[in-house]
Symmetry: C3
């Protein structure tokens, strides 16, 4: 059993962080809140998403009964997993205003009810076995952390898109830089430690596909700051908060090998 109420704007903000990476995924519901981990179809980008139950105006969850045809309903699990088409859900939520959304799960019928004012939206859950398996989070150690204003990062990505297909993120001493090259031109953002919220000094950089970072930069638009976790020719992990700090998002992106 899962029933909850939440501000429509907060829910949209959360789902937008997910749809930046995947259209659909397995959402885990537990007493503590919601969780999702999913990898994009090309296995290049991953999202880890968590939303605490106390951001909801109401949040009621009781562990799911066993799914098997057998009658042993006594057995129960501490969390429930449901397959959701987030892109479709976001489309419907996008119509509404800033009102409250009611969510209700019907596990037997495999449906999610969404109510916004007088408008009720019912969507069939996706069969979890038809969805990609939840990815393992690789064990990573990032030597460098950079905390930057989201808008500065997003503006640079928008400019970089006009020039190239890849982008280098790196630190050079006490400077964090983003660099993209086209055939004729080159764009570089360089920010000194004092222009950033935080910087671990170092000397390293990695190359990433701009398409994925562009998608991620849309997903982070409601966060004020983001934390970039960097290494040398290493994955990029971007962490930020949503829902007033009650939601946590991590994007993980595989590096590209530089051809030079």
């Amino acid at each position: 059993m899962f029933e909850a109420k939440i501000d429509a704007g907060v829910l949209r903000e959360c789902i937008e962080t997910i749809t930046a990476i995947v259209d659909e995924g397995k959402l885990k519901i537990a007493e503590e809140g919601l969780k999702l981990r999913a990898v994009d179809p090309a296995n290049v980008a991953m999202i880890s998403f968590e939303l605490q139950s106390d951001v909801f105006d109401e949040f009621r969850f009781a562990a799911k009964e066993a799914e098997s045809g057998a009658e042993d309903t006594s057995e129960s699990k501490a969390e429930t997993e449901v397959g959701i088409d987030f892109t479709k859900l976001l489309g419907i939520l996008g119509i509404g205003g800033r009102e409250e959304v009611e969510l209700e799960l019907d596990e037997h019928a495999q449906k999610l009810f969404t109510k916004m004012g007088c408008l009720a939206y019912t969507v069939s859950l996706l069969d979890p076995s038809s969805l990609r398996k939840e990815p393992k989070v690789p064990e990573l150690e990032f030597p460098v952390q950079v905390i930057i204003e989201t808008e500065e990062f997003r503006r640079t990505i928008r400019a970089a898109e006009k020039i190239g297909d890849h982008i280098v993120l790196g630190v050079d001493g006490e400077v964090f830089y983003m660099e993209t090259e086209g055939e004729m031109d080159k764009l570089r953002l360089g920010l000194r430690k004092e222009q950033l919220i935080h910087l671990t000094p170092g000397t390293l950089h990695s190359l990433y596909s701009l398409d994925y970072i562009t998608a991620m930069s849309k997903g982070m638009s409601h966060a004020e700051n983001i934390t970039l976790n960097l290494g040398k020719d290493y994955p990029l992990q971007i962490d930020f908060e949503v829902a007033g700090g009650k939601g946590k998002v991590s994007y993980l992106l595989a590096p590209r090998i530089e051809s030079e």
Copy 2:
């Protein structure tokens, strides 16, 4: 002879209600005002439009002389019918601001002059014989009337478009509902009598093509409320006012047969 002046915004609002259904049509001009009745090319939707002459800042009409080559100009009719390309006229009116528009008909040259400030637009009238015949309004009796805020109706239509191709409109006791189904999902607006401006209680519903209702919902965007006239597997008639109550619009839409 027809000469008139009208606020550009009011004229645009009126023409938008027409172009929601047809691109071109036969406009009847008489001392009382303007009238149009037209059916869409697929014979599925009809508009009846009336605009009182007193909404115009100036309105002068004198009955048209006989059109025949003969010299009997003594014979006259109480109204004149002109073929107009409304979509084109709306395009030109859309450029202007909120200024006054002057209209002048030249029946001999078969032209309509439109003047907005220093900008004069002259359009040839369409040959009425090239246009579809004015449809007969079928005799209909609607057991149920629902008066609803236009924005609530339009918002539901926008959400429904994301899901399916058809929509059910109906009443169930003292509840008015709109319902659309997709392959995986279902959307339902349910409004109790006290959430509506008016409701005739009953139990009936009909299915309609969403494309037509979407077009109509654009045409009604300036009206505050609309009246839905409903029956069981029956046409839908939507009535509303424009031009501050001086204009009346009725859309009529044939039902679809439910396949179940």
Copy 3:
């Protein structure tokens, strides 16, 4: 050597007047400021552009050393010519806000550095020999001058686009007019002397391609007034100021021969 600082909005406004006619061109840099003269690929439209150095917050220019491989660096010229892809530069400038832009020319490396805050953009200069030769400005005498509010002109062009492919600009006594004809309809703007800022009375008109005037009308969007220089079946010259009067733009457009 060329180094300069300028308000980003002013620079964008200037480049937009150029990209209305050409994507790329040879910019001349001298102590007095910047100059460009370029003709569109079809040889129908020309732009002459001048921007005074005192609109810049900083402007430092030293004549370029000889380009030849020889060592005679003592020889110098009073101006430098650089090939620039303006459309690309405008795209990058469009990302930024209203901040200051720093420009720096590296003639040896044939690069232009552009710095907006922490974002540095480096673009390779185009080889001037690959660009169209600077056009000669034909000697023209215009019997009639009309000064008109830019917005009135632009609004008429927007309406004309909905109707035809060509537009007539002319004066008839003390009236300036713009006229375009479609198959079924005709649009005419007529402004009397007192509705204009200036008018030389006369009787003449010329026909122009609307596509080019549409492009030009985008380039002039920041100017309050424009001066139209007109003749009988003669080129059109449109003059206006940008950058608070410190920049001057002239568009020249060849007439079309009327087929009637």
